[in-house]
């Protein structure tokens, strides 16, 4: 099953199981079913609870907050995650704040879906990974879609959290298969953390390095891990947390070794990886061979032309290179 189908099924399941659940966004109705077809079939089965909205990202996010405020489960789709910038006030100053600024906890079941990332030639305003701009906002949790996490479970975790959640969905993942594609590696779940190790037990037992990455970058990390293993006999482990913020760093610790990297598609500067590195340093600095190494896209706009886009965005070879640098110490 492809990731988009898995997510679509998860949304069907949510609307099925929760009579208070709503899905709203731009162009989400059938027969169109959303710009990335993730909402396909929903409006046909649940015409009252799937709502197409005007092109008003701030407005529709506010409506979702109003639905959540009155006890509903609201799932809003921002057509391109870049446009979450238009909903920043509703997210930062209303939804996230409302959980705690009225003195006692006000639970809000609210998910804002953000199709994210480049690699499809959509250009500077339709290709960004804006996770970093939402890191560190009290009352707002960040999750990222991954091929290793069943979206039904991820949606349930976000709903159960009782606070607004942003769900970043790397667009490149939509058409990729769920689960493990590379026969050299095997993925398992440790709570909300996906742990991917070489199939060979001796290699899995003693990884030379560990990469922490959000779901959207996982396949690029795996590609680097394959080339490192096959070409250089360097064996690594991949950790993919479903929730990026607040990060459960304690869950990472048992899986880390002396060499740790964080790979993400966001552009350089104030990255999610910087936050991960800080948390890891605080806890296991003495166990590390060197500082956590950050790999990300260049500090640049994301160009449209394919050859230019490749120069800016994080690649498997950049991860490969960073691992070798880290091991060289």
């Amino acid at each position: 099953m492809r990731v988009a189908e898995n997510l679509n099924a998860a949304l069907h399941g949510l609307l099925d199981d929760d009579p208070t659940a709503y899905v709203l966004g731009e162009d989400v109705l059938d027969p169109y079913g959303g710009a990335f077809k993730v909402t396909k079939g929903l409006s046909t089965r649940f015409p009252d609870r799937v709502i197409t909205t005007p092109i008003s990202e701030g407005g529709l996010t506010g409506v979702a907050a109003g639905l959540a405020l009155t006890g509903n489960t609201a799932v809003a789709e921002i057509m391109f995650g870049d446009f979450a910038a238009l909903a920043f006030d509703q997210l930062c100053n209303f939804a996230a704040k409302s959980v705690s600024m009225y003195g006692s906890r006000l639970p809000l079941r609210m998910i804002v879906r953000c199709p994210t990332g480049g690699g499809r030639g959509y250009g500077p305003t339709h290709s960004q990974s804006l996770q970093k701009h939402f890191v560190g906002m009290p009352g707002l949790a960040l999750y990222e879609m991954s091929p290793f996490h069943d979206n039904r479970d991820v949606l349930a975790a976000m709903v159960d959290r009782g606070e607004p959640c942003l769900f970043f969905e790397d667009k490149v993942l939509y058409t990729r298969p769920m689960g493990q594609a590379d026969p050299l590696f095997r993925a398992r779940l440790d709570g909300g953390l996906a742990v991917v190790d070489p199939v060979v037990p001796e290699l899995a037992a003693r990884p030379d390095y560990v990469i922490v990455t959000p779901g959207g970058t996982a396949h690029r990390a795996l590609e680097a891990m394959r080339s490192l293993l096959v070409e250089e006999e360097i064996s690594g482990r991949l950790l993919v947390p479903s929730r990026l913020y607040p990060l459960d760093v304690e869950a990472l610790l048992p899986h880390l070794g002396g060499v740790v990297l964080v790979a993400e598609e966001g552009t350089a500067g104030g990255t999610w990886g910087g936050e991960v590195a800080h948390l890891v340093h605080q806890r296991i600095w003495e166990r590390l061979r060197g500082p956590v190494r950050l790999v990300h896209s260049a500090a640049s706009v994301i160009p449209t032309a394919a050859h230019l886009e490749r120069e800016v965005l994080l690649t498997a070879s950049a991860i490969h290179h960073a691992v070798r640098e880290a091991l060289r110490g």
């Binding site: 008003s56 407005g59 409506v63 959540a68 209303f94 009225y102």
Partner: protein, 314 residues
């Protein structure tokens, strides 16, 4: 479409006498008035932290609306919301404790003057932000509690925010029971309406096919009579913008009034408080002194309370 209104500069005197109020309406008006005056005094003496925005001169707006709204209705308030809260709950102790950060504060002292949530009442401090939220609430009410409505208080300055238009569009598209109450006091912080708004509130409502009702009177009974059938229509899913042409008697927050003396004088001449004292002196004086004393008592009692407690991780 009506012309741009600049009430603070308009002719101030010669209005018809105010009709006689019911006792409880007068009491509530005076409670709000003396609450706000007391706040300014407390600030003046350095006894309050932060800032506040009083509704002096605009007290009659929530008082007129009070019997038109029921407990099933949501009220969204803004930065200038003490009158809205007191009209809904009459709870001067809880509100002052919130503003002073004392035990018994409605929101533990976290929200302060402009961030209050209680039952179906919610205020927040960012202009226009609550309109789309109220639209979402109205959507819920239309589906699950037909007959209930969401009421949002905004000012003339709020119309500079795009969120207002996004919400009006959705409210009209989806036939939401949304009541937008505009308190057009002619000035946005320090900027006269004429310097920040092209066209009119009425014209903007009309652009979305949303009904607009203009209230120029400060007569609570008259306002209510006019609004009653319109509010009933809101409950049936016909959104409405009610624009009160009103007068901000005091500063935007505290000590920051840069209006020319004639503008302040015009606001004072339109003040319901002085007008009612003149039109109904016996009724006014029977309640004014006790209201003043009551609020003073509240202030003394709340100021003596220990600080409110709150855990950031709660």
């Amino acid at each position: 479409m009506t012309e741009t209104l600049t009430p603070a500069l308009g002719p101030a005197t010669g209005g018809p006498p105010l009709s006689r109020l019911a006792d409880d309406d007068l009491e509530l008006l005076l409670l709000i008035r003396h609450f706000e005056l007391t706040l300014l005094q407390l600030y003046g003496r350095g006894e309050l932290n932060g800032t506040t925005h009083t509704c002096l001169g605009q007290e009659y707006v929530p008082v007129a609306l009070r019997p038109l709204l029921g407990p099933g209705d949501f009220v969204f308030s803004n930065h200038r919301g003490h009158g809205h809260y007191l009209a809904r709950f009459g709870d001067a102790h809880g509100l002052l404790a919130e503003i002073m950060g004392r035990e018994g504060a409605v929101c533990g002292g976290v929200g302060g003057s402009q961030h209050i949530h209680r039952d179906r009442y919610l205020s927040t401090g960012v202009q226009g932000e609550s309109l789309p939220v109220a639209a979402g609430v109205a959507l819920h009410l239309r589906r699950t509690e037909p007959g209930a409505l969401a009421c949002v208080h905004i000012g003339d300055g709020t119309w500079g925010e795009g969120a207002v238009y996004e919400a009006l569009n959705m409210a009209a598209l989806w036939s939401l029971p949304l009541l937008v109450v505009v308190e057009n006091n002619g000035i946005a912080q320090s900027t006269p309406t004429a310097a920040q708004m092209a066209g009119t509130v009425a014209g903007r409502a009309a652009a979305f096919g949303v009904d607009h009702h203009l209230v120029v009177s400060a007569d609570v009974n008259e306002i209510r009579t006019g609004l009653e059938p319109l509010v009933a229509r809101v409950r049936e899913g016909r959104p409405l913008v009610v624009e009160f042409v009103t007068h901000r008697l005091g500063p935007h927050s505290k000590g920051d009034d840069t209006r020319p003396p004639e503008a302040i004088r015009a606001a004072e001449e339109n003040d319901w408080y002085a007008r009612y004292a003149q039109d109904h002196p016996e009724h006014f004086h029977r309640f004014d002194g006790p209201a003043r004393a009551l609020v003073q008592g509240v202030a003394d009692e709340v100021a003596a309370r220990p600080p409110s407690r709150w855990s950031p991780c709660a």
